[in-house]
Structure formats: structure tokens, C-alpha cells
């Protein structure tokens, strides 16, 4: 209990005859960022809804901050903060009023509430817009205010459901900084869901890949990359002659005469690296430079789920 913020065993949920979650197990240590990565419809939002007490699971159990999700929902609610996929703001109120509303509902004394609201507006760079109705805010501002409202109650465990979906690249970077800062400055535990591999790679200590309601892999970004073949060693040569003679030594290699490079499939491990260098030595070919490419999370996802992530591809292309 002292080191685990969130633990879940066998979470299941179906809507009608459509099964959304097929037994999810999670263990998330305190003070870490955990990413649930998956395409649309994988069950990310449902997992967050269950863990944040919004929806009851059909089966399975979970403990949040040491409290049983089902039996001690009120205790769980007092520990958590949730920023959902769609901004949970009151559009008819101003930014400041939204924050004060949260402060009132968290039963903070009036002065403390005002202090906290002002501090959060400053921290999220919203002070100038504080008195404007939220309906006039841009997507990035809304998301920031949404997170600020979550933070009013000083939650120890924060659920972020697709915190940057629909944001422009700049607002996304700002959001990332805010999330990193949260963990460093406040020591909170964050469970975030994302469709963006880059986002999970950037923010999370551990990543679980969710597909069709099942966890298909879990580990650090590095661990995940390692289970996937598809890495390669890239050699660059000074001349076409050297490239060609090196290419003669490696059967599976792909040569690129324009760039004067050779791509050799490899898992990037030291023995593999040494073997390549030995072959070059024996053939008396000098390489100008060598780079090891480990697969990125896109490769991981493709390998694990057997299908691509169209949303991500489109997103990366922007």
C-alpha cells in the first residue's frame, strides 16, 4: 500500500454484448507516470472511467491509494483528480469562477480557495484570461484550465484521459511540460492515456499497450522497444567503392548509394555490433560512422497489435 498508488486485477467491462475490457491488470507505483497506450476503441477511456469511480466494472477489483474502489469510493474520490478527454469546465462561468467552484466543492476555506485559484492561474499562464468566460477560450487554454481545476483539490493521483488530443503541437508541448512538472514538483502519481506513441515515450516511466480491451505488453519505453525486432545498424562510408565492398560482406543489408549508407538488420546488442565490426575489419573496409537504430514505439505497436495506428500516423504527419 505504501508504494503502490493504483493496482487493478481482472477488470472487465462490456456494454451490451460489446466487450470493452477483457481483464486488465495494472500496478502503478507511487510518484510515477504510467501511460496506457492504444488506438481509439482500445478501452483506454473505459479503464479511466472505472478507476475514477465514474463507471462500475463488471468484474475485477482495484485499489486506489490503498482504498478499495468499490467499497470505499468516497475515500478514493477524495484522493483523485480527473481530467477527461472532453474539457470538464463550466462554460458559462469565468476561469476564475470555475476554479473557485472547485475550491468550494473541495471545502477549502474562502481565502485559501482564492489563494489557490490565483496561484493556479499564474502557474498555467491564465491570469490575463481569468475574468473571461470559458466559452471564449481556445482548446489549449481549456485543457490547461481543466487540469488546473483538477489540481485545486491537491489530488495525489491524477487521471489524464488523452490530455493532448486535438491540441496544436505547441499547446501539446506546453501540456507535456506541465505534466512533467506535476510529477517533479508535487510528487503525484499520473495515469495517462494516449494514442500518441511519442507522448508515452516523452512522459511515462512505464507504458502498457492496450488493444481490444487487453494489455498486450507492459514495460518501460526501452523494454518495449527491445522486444521488437526491426532495429538496424547503419554504416556510412566515404566512397561508393567502400560501400560496395562492404555490401558484398552482408547478405541482408540494404545499400543506399545516394547517402553512401548501408543498413544491416540487427537487434543492436553489443555482440551483434562486434560481429559487424569484425566483418568490416576482415574485409579491410573503413566505415566513416556507425549508428544503432532501435525500433521506436510505432514499430512496437505494429508488432504487438498486428495493425497500425492510423490516427498516430496522421498525427505525426502534421
Amino acid at each position: 500500500m505504501t508504494t503502490t498508488a493504483i493496482s487493478a486485477r481482472g477488470l472487465r467491462k462490456s456494454y451490451g454484448d460489446k466487450s470493452v475490457l477483457n481483464g486488465i491488470d495494472l500496478t502503478i507505483p507511487k510518484g510515477s507516470v504510467f501511460a496506457l497506450l492504444g488506438p481509439n476503441g482500445a478501452g483506454k477511456t473505459t479503464t479511466v472511467e472505472i478507476l475514477s469511480t465514474l463507471v462500475a466494472a463488471d468484474a475485477g477489483e482495484a485499489r486506489i491509494g490503498g482504498h478499495d474502489l468499490r467499497r470505499e469510493a468516497a475515500a478514493v474520490r477524495s484522493l483523485i483528480g480527473v481530467t477527461g478527454q472532453f474539457a470538464a469546465l463550466d462554460n458559462l462561468l469565468t476561469a476564475e469562477e470555475n476554479l473557485l467552484l472547485m475550491a468550494d466543492l473541495r471545502h477549502l476555506p474562502r481565502r485559501e480557495g482564492r489563494r489557490r485559484a490565483a496561484e493556479l492561474l499564474r502557474r498555467f499562464d491564465l491570469t490575463e484570461a481569468a475574468r473571461k468566460p470559458v466559452s471564449t477560450f481556445s482548446g489549449g487554454m481549456r485543457r490547461k484550465l481543466d487540469l488546473a481545476m483538477t489540481l485545486v483539490g491537491d489530488p495525489r493521483i491524477i487521471f489524464l484521459d488523452e490530455p493532448t488530443t486535438g491540441l496544436d503541437p505547441r499547446s501539446r508541448r506546453t501540456m507535456w511540460e506541465i505534466i512533467r512538472d506535476l510529477v517533479v514538483a508535487d510528487g503525484v502519481t499520473v495515469l495517462l492515456t494516449t494514442q500518441y506513441l511519442e507522448e508515452a515515450d516523452q512522459l511515462a516511466d512505464r507504458i502498457a499497450v492496450l488493444d481490444h480491451g487487453r494489455l498486450v505488453a507492459e514495460g518501460t519505453a526501452e523494454e518495449l522497444k527491445r522486444i521488437v525486432p526491426g532495429g538496424h545498424i547503419r554504416l556510412r562510408f566515404a566512397s561508393l567503392a567502400e560501400l560496395d565492398s562492404a555490401a558484398g560482406q552482408f547478405r541482408a543489408a540494404a545499400r543506399d548509394p545516394e547517402e553512401l549508407t548501408l543498413r544491416i538488420p540487427s537487434d543492436g546488442s553489443i555482440p551483434a555490433l562486434r560481429a559487424v565490426l569484425d566483418v568490416l575489419d576482415d574485409a579491410a573496409v573503413q566505415a566513416e560512422s556507425l549508428t544503432v537504430h532501435t525500433p521506436d514505439l510505432d514499430d512496437v505497436f505494429l508488432t504487438l497489435t498486428g495493425h497500425g495506428t492510423p490516427d498516430t500516423t496522421a498525427e505525426m504527419a502534421r
Partner: protein, 269 residues
């Protein structure tokens, strides 16, 4: 603080939120007043002459041409009651629109009193509707309505109106929760705004054909209208008073339970 005082403070917070909404966007309050005002104008000036002539004891109607009881004295209590049904529609729409806002899901993940959200809406709407009722009463008096109620009778009439508003507001809060869109939230309670016409709001039930008369006499609005009319203009109340209060109390309880269970069940995305 105890659980109960948290519940009260959360409800007050929610009420403040609804009050801000109502003050900042008065269109909804205006629309609550609009319907009964139109009815008042319509039934006093357009239909009053003909309808008044058909009602015994109200030989003249229209813009007050002569002696005896005016038709407006008959119809005003019924139309004052329509302000309450009009408020019910506004409540259903208000709750439904609010449910489509993401903030409600945020409320659910916070450790606040479960009923606070609904209590805030219902109390807010009740105050809004009572304000509309006051406006309609003033307008009716300006058009010639001459209630002869004593202070106690006025208090009883307002008490009954408050009770009725509370009942209708709880029921329509539940409607707002189960309605999928604001459009359907405004359509579902429409029969409610129609029911007073199928009671004794604009004409006495004796004038109706047998089947309809039976329905009119046993539906909830007729005893409420009869009681109001009795309190304000001194017509006979009989057992209507008890029946009216029983209906209102029953509807309030049913509406409250329905709304609570609907709120626990629904999650709008």
C-alpha cells in the same frame, strides 16, 4: 464538518452556480414567463368573451365590460399554475444541457454529496419559477384579476404553488437526466404543460364529455387549480385541498427518487 453540513454546503455551492447561470443568461427565465403571459393575454382578451359567457357565475368576459365575476377571475389561477409547468420544461432543458457539459462528470469523480448537483438545480429552478409566478400574478391583477384572498389564504396559495413547483421540478429534473438531447428534454414535459387544459384551468370540468370529464377530475392539476381558485377567489374547495397536497407530496417524492437513481446511472460523455 459532518456529512450533513457538507451536503448543505455542496448544495449551496451548486445553487450559487445555477444562480450565476440564470443571472448571466436570463433568456431561460424570460422563456418561463413568456408562455403563461401569452396564455393570459390569449384567454383574457381573445377567448375570454366566448368562454366567460359559457361559465355560470361569470357572465361577462373580455376586457372587463361589466358587472359580476369576470372570466379572468376564473382563468387566472389556472394560468398562474401554468407558470409552474412552464418552469418544469425549463428545468428539464437546463438539467439536460448541464449534463452534456463535461463538468458533471468531474462532479461525479469528486467526493461531494451525491444529491448536491440536483438539489442545486431544483432549488434554483424553484426560485426561478416562483419569480415567474409572481410576475404572472402581477400581470393578471393588471388585467383585471381581483382576488379576494386574505393574508392567510395568500400564504396558503403561495405555499401550494411552491409545493407544486417543487414536485414538477423534481420530476422534470429526472426527465432532464434521462433525455438524450436538450430537444427531447423540452419535448417530454410538453404533455405536462397541456394537462391543465384537460383539467379545470380554463373551463369547468362539468362542461366536458363524460370520458374526458372523468380524466379531468382525477388528474393532479384539477385539485390544485380548484384549491388555488378557492383560496384566491373564494370558490368552494371541498376535499380538493387535501388531494392537491397529497398529489404534490407524492410527485415530489417520486420525482426525487427517480432523479436520484437516474443521476447515479447516467454518464454522459
Amino acid at each position: 464538518m459532518s456529512t450533513f453540513s457538507y451536503a448543505v454546503s455542496d448544495s449551496l455551492t451548486m445553487l450559487r452556480r445555477n444562480a450565476k447561470h440564470a443571472l448571466r443568461y436570463p433568456a431561460m427565465t424570460f422563456s418561463v414567463v413568456l408562455m403563461p403571459m401569452m396564455m393570459l393575454l390569449l384567454f383574457n382578451y381573445a377567448f375570454g368573451g366566448a368562454l366567460g359567457a359559457g361559465i355560470a357565475g361569470a357572465p361577462t368576459g373580455g376586457a372587463g365590460t361589466g358587472s359580476g365575476t369576470e372570466y379572468i377571475d376564473y382563468v387566472a389561477p389556472g394560468i398562474i399554475l401554468m407558470a409552474a409547468t412552464s418552469g418544469a420544461v425549463a428545468t428539464a432543458v437546463g438539467v439536460c444541457v448541464d449534463m452534456t457539459e463535461g463538468i458533471v462528470n468531474r462532479f461525479r469523480t469528486m467526493s461531494l454529496s451525491r444529491a448536491a448537483f440536483l438539489t442545486g438545480h431544483v432549488v434554483g429552478s424553484t426560485v426561478q419559477t416562483l419569480a415567474a409566478i409572481a410576475v404572472v400574478i402581477v400581470a393578471a391583477v393588471a388585467m383585471g384579476f381581483r382576488p379576494d384572498a386574505s393574508l392567510v389564504e395568500w400564504a396558503a396559495a403561495l405555499g401550494l404553488l411552491t409545493l407544486l413547483t417543487l414536485a414538477l421540478t423534481w420530476v422534470s429534473a429526472a426527465v432532464g437526466l434521462i433525455a438524450r438531447t436538450p430537444e427531447s428534454a423540452s419535448n417530454i414535459p410538453l404533455p405536462l404543460t397541456f394537462l391543465p387544459f384537460l383539467g379545470s384551468a380554463v373551463v369547468p370540468t362539468d362542461s366536458m364529455p363524460a370520458g374526458l370529464r372523468w380524466f379531468a377530475e382525477y388528474q393532479p392539476f384539477t385539485p390544485v387549480i380548484e384549491t388555488l381558485r378557492g383560496l384566491l377567489t373564494g370558490t368552494g374547495i371541498g376535499s380538493s385541498g387535501y388531494v392537491a397536497v397529497a398529489w404534490c407530496a407524492g410527485l415530489t417524492l417520486a420525482g426525487y427518487l427517480w432523479a436520484r437513481s437516474a443521476f447515479t446511472r447516467t454518464t454522459h460523455r
